[in-house]
Symmetry: none
């Protein structure tokens, strides 16, 4: 897993539009996405960037998707690397063969990007149990997403649902400024007709909830807020 809780994803897909589509959706879902169109390059990239998950098109240039998957399974280093296979054909045969080669999941085109993201996250949760109980921490704040619990310096912290999501987002992307609008888009399920200033209030509530000690939610005037130790 990358820093900041960002999940690294490698997309191996030679249909550029689809690759772009995937990149876009997975980026939005909090993945760091690398793409390649070539099977051999994929194997090299996997060594280099050590992704947490691979999306593998069935039919690609160079070494075929199915072959890439086999090789991954053969090497101890990558034997457990989660792989989702993509195929243009929806026949059961392919599905069976795909899973036989060691793919963890198998999605037929056309697919729904949302569903694919959901499956990817489900797979990550399964294959990296520490993800289901994601342990986020920064500057003395600890969040256990499994227990849905937050502590600061060991002391329990009480936050409401929205405050929790806000804090979680900051913990996943520390030391990075988000505008009020971005936070609304990300943290609020239905962001329509919600005042920007509401974010201020929520930030304050999180601050209060976190109790005394250094204020870790830095206000960046005219920009937004960030989770940050340094004042």
């Amino acid at each position: 897993m990358g820093k900041n809780g960002l999940k690294r994803l490698l997309v191996v897909e030679d249909d550029r539009p689809i690759a772009e589509l995937l990149k876009h959706h997975f980026s939005s879902a909090g993945f760091t996405v690398t793409t390649t169109t070539d099977g051999d390059e994929a194997l090299i990239l996997i060594d280099e960037i050590k992704p947490d998950l691979v999306l593998l098109d069935w039919m690609i240039e160079g070494t075929s998707g199915i072959e890439v998957c086999r090789r991954l399974r053969r090497s101890a280093h990558t034997a457990k690397l989660p792989v989702i296979m993509l195929t243009a054909r929806g026949e059961e045969d392919d599905r069976v063969r795909g899973l036989e080669t060691g793919a963890d999941d198998f999605v037929a085109k056309p697919f729904s990007p949302k569903e694919l993201v959901a499956r990817a996250n489900a797979l990550l949760r399964r294959s990296q149990p520490n993800l289901i109980g994601e342990k986020l921490s920064y500057g003395g704040i600890e969040m256990d997403t499994a227990a849905h619990r937050v502590r600061r310096d060991g002391q329990p912290v009480n936050v409401g649902p929205t405050e929790y999501r806000l804090l979680q987002h900051f913990l996943r992307h520390p030391e990075r400024v988000f505008s009020r609008q971005q936070l609304l888009d990300i943290v609020w399920p239905h962001n329509e007709e919600i005042e920007l200033r509401t974010v201020d209030v929520l930030v304050r509530r999180v601050r209060v909830a976190l109790g005394p000690g250094p204020d870790l939610l830095r206000t960046v005037r005219s920009e937004g807020y960030s989770l940050d130790q340094a004042k």
Copy 2:
């Protein structure tokens, strides 16, 4: 994006009443709206007016909506152009196919104009974000645009928004002289009716903020300023 922050929108819809409805609502929401009923004409218009967003009906004359979308994605120039698909049918199949072709969002008729506007704005926000964190540095000054933070020789530097933008511009173009007028145009959002001398003051404030040590902001008499190590 057009001047005045007006967002250009192209509506491709052959049901005139609906097109009018859309035009009306999006105009109210601050969009400059162009409409067409024909897919082929849409492609031409997109080249001409370079919209920031396209609303694309599924079923239209000429080249179908789905095909228009595919072509947009194929061309590098328009590959990232945000597209929202509209369809009369609400079936998941269409939704999947719509997204597969590269549409960024998909709205089924009948739709709520308000919601559509909200989604359009959300999409625009997401498609033109400053997500990448630039690391700028020069002569001991470091700027992390993601964290919105500046250091000099490791020491945190406190600057206001305008000073930040000024410094950022210098860091992006070091060792290069900019006139006061140029700096006003670049750094100031609304540069109307602002005195040239004001730049002097801002430069000074940045100098002060950068603390002791060599003055990296070189005054070029009767020309302007530049970020420069050599005195």
